[in-house]
Symmetry: C2
Subunit: 318 residues, 2 copies
């Protein structure tokens, strides 16, 4: 873990949105001493009070506008669908030389929605930390969330290089590894590694529960043979994921088209009994898991190291 | 766990195939005293010797034919593709009143391949224990494999009811819960809960590695955001799974057709920005996971309770 302990990166950071991600960033800033002061805004007074109480912000404000006064770094941690509105509100208060960033799961839409409200002289560097849990709210956050995780930054063309380097240091200070790419590429990559996998999982769970021949009770009973792994992803937050799909249309449709083409080839192979084609694919895909484990992005324990409900080691057919 | 300790169910059991499943059945029989004697056959002399050495069989034989002499229960634990050949070999030696069963992941094909070789007076009750690990061979087996797991039996029409009840007791003695259904229904149900989920996982891993725009290195790096869950299933044994798809064509094609129809609806909703349709599906699918946990078929721990490679609790974006 690369924590630049005691290294100040920004004087003042403003957190707009104080849920899981905003609160975790606040904790991380404190842990590593990345800023002198942290201001916060959330829509609900209760959340603002809780954030101050927990202590991952130094001050809270009734409006986003007030929170960003004199801030060197503004991090938008609200749902992707709300970004444009927030950006239009705070635009007049952004100081020259400040950097504005976000944490959303899509990037081209963020450039589209926030970009128009970024004044001359303010650095606009959208971002996406690949980290999170199933929890929500100011109590959910913790400093270690971003440790060893990748954070992708998608600075707009022409962005000042030292502003970019500063934001990279900030995320490294939070424990992350940082990659920089353009927004459109981000959206295609995440369509592959996150968005389409989620969509496929949602779909198969939906299909399974719609079959007249197979009862939902049977699906549940026999789920340990492969199906249940999909249900975890399909239990993800509906609002967040609706917004992801509505805001990464291009990336998702492109990857989905490829997925469907490839699936048609498999379907045909099954219909015509082409065992070799199936065998070759299945052999090729085994190697991918090995490389994910070797890259430190997954546990090597069989069956995810999953334990039975009563605590014993679980072994599944899948 | 319902173990009928010390309850003899069959005098002599013959295990044809001594890998993970065969060996686990052998161990389970010993643990619960379900048979007086267990004979075994495997193609390799080494495996036969090892089985005897470990002690989950009382005798081993050079041919399947010899192993089944005087057996009251014959369990075929070889790959689905090999069943017909084995059945034709042992046919002459099956004693009247014996029961023949198997453990394959598909059932209609087993009825088709083994059925013709079952003599008059022998009970044919195909079976499928929904249990297993990623391991193989005689050393892989253990008595607890079937505990709390479902075993599905698909007796052919007209099967003697007391022979069926006896096999049910046997599987309950191994720790399982037993359901009885017809073979065609089994194949559709397992197409939903196991076969098509595996196919989808194989497909998405294949698609992900075929995109020109996204490197395999990127797919691996950013895999923690959802993709990696799929890679586990896509690391399953290529031979076994090739045989499953070749032998459950009808069930798989039916479910695959539904899956693709439903996916096209989602694709269209994304193209046209139909947020409500997406939101409604995502809300509906959340409930399925809850019921799987409540049915004792899954851990409630977030993220499967997965630990980071260095042993710390892992939190993923998905």
């Amino acid at each position: 873990m690369s924590v630049a302990t005691g290294t100040l990166v920004y004087e003042k950071v403003a957190l707009i949105g104080l849920g899981l991600i905003g609160s975790s960033i606040g904790h991380g800033i404190k842990r590593a001493g990345l800023a002198k002061t942290v201001s916060g805004f959330a829509r609900s007074a209760e959340t603002r009070a809780r954030a101050l109480e927990i202590g991952f912000v130094d001050s809270v404000h009734d409006t986003a506008k007030e929170a960003v006064v004199d801030a060197d770094l503004i991090i938008l941690c609200v749902p992707v669908g709300a970004l444009g509105k927030v950006a239009s509100e705070i635009e007049p208060m952004l100081k020259k030389g400040a950097t504005i960033t976000d944490v959303g799961s899509v990037k081209s839409a963020v450039v589209r929605d926030v970009g128009p409200f970024v004044p001359e002289g303010v650095h606009f560097i959208p971002g996406h930390p690949l980290a999170g849990t199933e929890e929500s709210g100011p109590d959910a956050g913790f400093a270690e969330l971003f440790d060893e995780r990748w954070c992708i930054l998608t600075p707009v063309p022409g962005t000042d290089k030292s502003a970019e380097a500063q934001l990279v240091s900030f995320w490294e200070g939070l424990g992350s590894k940082v990659d920089v790419m353009d927004a459109q590429h981000h959206d295609v990559v995440l369509a592959v590694t996150s968005h389409v996998p989620h969509l496929i999982a949602y779909n198969i769970v939906g299909t399974a529960t719609d079959l007249e021949e197979v009862t939902q009770s049977e699906v549940v009973k026999y789920s340990a043979s492969g199906f249940r792994d999909f249900t975890r992803i399909a239990a993800s937050d509906p609002t967040m994921w609706r917004d992801v799909f509505l805001n990464n249309k291009e990336g998702v449709l492109e990857v989905l088209g490829r997925f469907s083409e490839d699936l048609a080839v498999l379907q045909r192979a099954i219909r015509w009994g082409d065992g070799d084609l199936l065998f070759d694919l299945f052999t090729r895909t085994r190697a991918v898991r090995r490389s994910i484990i070797d890259a430190g992005q997954e546990t090597a324990a069989p069956n995810f190291g999953r334990t039975k409900p009563d605590g014993d080691e679980e072994d599944g057919e899948a």
